[in-house]
Symmetry: C2
Subunit: 242 residues, 2 copies
Amino acid sequence: MNKLYVVGIGPGGGESMTLQARQILESCDTIVGYTVYVELLKSQFPDKEWLTTPMRRETERCRIAFENAQRGRKVAMVCSGDAGVYGMAGLMLELSPGYPDCEVEVVAGVTAALSGAAALGAPLMHDFAVISLSDLLTPWETIERRLRCAAVADMAICLYNPASRKRADYLQRACDILLETLEPERTCGLAARLGRKGESCEVLTLAQLRERPVDMFTTVFIGNSQTKTVGGKLVTPRGYPI
Amino acid sequence: MNKLYVVGIGPGGGESMTLQARQILESCDTIVGYTVYVELLKSQFPDKEWLTTPMRRETERCRIAFENAQRGRKVAMVCSGDAGVYGMAGLMLELSPGYPDCEVEVVAGVTAALSGAAALGAPLMHDFAVISLSDLLTPWETIERRLRCAAVADMAICLYNPASRKRADYLQRACDILLETLEPERTCGLAARLGRKGESCEVLTLAQLRERPVDMFTTVFIGNSQTKTVGGKLVTPRGYPI
C-alpha cells in the first residue's frame, strides 16, 4: 500500500504548522500543492521534488499526487490552513477508489478561522458558522440561505473567500443579507495574510465592513449579539461569570 | 509589560501541537491549565511549575495565570484543542483590563472539529456550524435554535460537549431536533479521545447516532445533504468535477 498524506500547513506554512505536519513533510520526497502555497515552503524543505498546479486545476493536482505515490514516491499534498476545511482532503478521498493501491491520510492544520480569530482576540469562543462566499462550486442561493440562517441563529460567522477579482462585490452582498437580521453596529473583524508579508488585523462594524474592500487573502469575522471589544481585541464571551 | 500566552495544545497535547505552541511552552516557566490537560503535558516539559484548577473553576484559573505573570513569571495558560474555540482565550481577554501590566497573546491550535474531521476523512470540506450541547453557560433554547438553523441551512454540523454525567440524554435531544429537518439516514460520525489512549472513530447514520451513548471526550459530526462514505471515510464534497 502506498501511503499519501494530505497535510494542512497552517497559515503561512511556518511555525503555525503542527509538529506532525513538519515531520511528515521532512519524511516525504515529493510535495504537491497549489503554486502559491508551495512557494511558502520551498526554502524550509530543500531537496524535495515540488509539483504544482495553478488554481482551478485541483483534480489534476490530486491525480499527480496519486500517480507519484504509485511510482513509489513518498508524497504529501499540502494545503494552506487545514486540509479538511476548503482544502484538498475531500477531493483526494473522492478520487482514492481509482487508486486502490494507495491509502490517503489526512493531517489537520490550523485553518484561517482559528488563526484569524487568535490574531483578532477570541471572536469564535461560542457557537459559530464557517461559510465560503465563493460561488465557483456552490450556487449563490445556497450561500445566501446559509448566511441568513447563521444570522438568525445568533452564531458568530467566519467568512472564507470574501472576494476575488471577478467577485469584487460579494462581501457587500453578504453584508446586505446579514443586515436584514443584524444591526449595523454589530462588531466584526478582518484578518489578512497571517504568517506572511503584509499581515494585518482590523476591528470594525458590520456597516463599515460593507464598505470595506477586501481581497482573497482576507478572512472575515462577524460577531454574535454578545461580541464586544476589550482593549482593542474582539471577544465573544462564553458566559463565564467574572 | 508582562506577556501571557493562551495556548491551544491540539488534541492530546502531543505532535498535533504547533511548532509555535511548543516553542512557547518550552520558553515559559509556569504552565496553568485544567487538571486533565496538564497531565497530558507534564512528561514532555520537565522543570516547569504546574498550576491547575478543576472544571468550573475557570475564572480562578485565569486569575492565577495573571497573578503569576505579575510576579514576573513567564506564564502560559494551556487549553485542549484551540484556545479560541470553547477554550480560555475569551475569559483571559475579558479579565485582562484588571491586570493593566499584563498583555495576553492567543496562540491557535487544532480544535477537535478539525482533528476529528481528519480522523474520520473530510466531513467539514464545505460550510459548517460548530455548536456546543453544554447548557452550563448557554440556555438550552438557544442551542435548539442553532441546531434547527444549521439543519435548515444544510450545513455540516460539528457538536462539542455532546454529553456528560448530568446531561446523559442531550445528544438524543439534539438528534430529535435535527430529525425534524434531516432524514434518519443522514451520514454522521464520531471521533473520541484523539491523540490519547482509547482513540476511536465511527461512521453511522443520524438514526443510529440518536441511540448511541457518547461521553464528554467525543466530538460528533453530522453531514450535509451531500456527505457520503468513500472507502469507509466520511466525505462532504466541495463540488469539484471528477
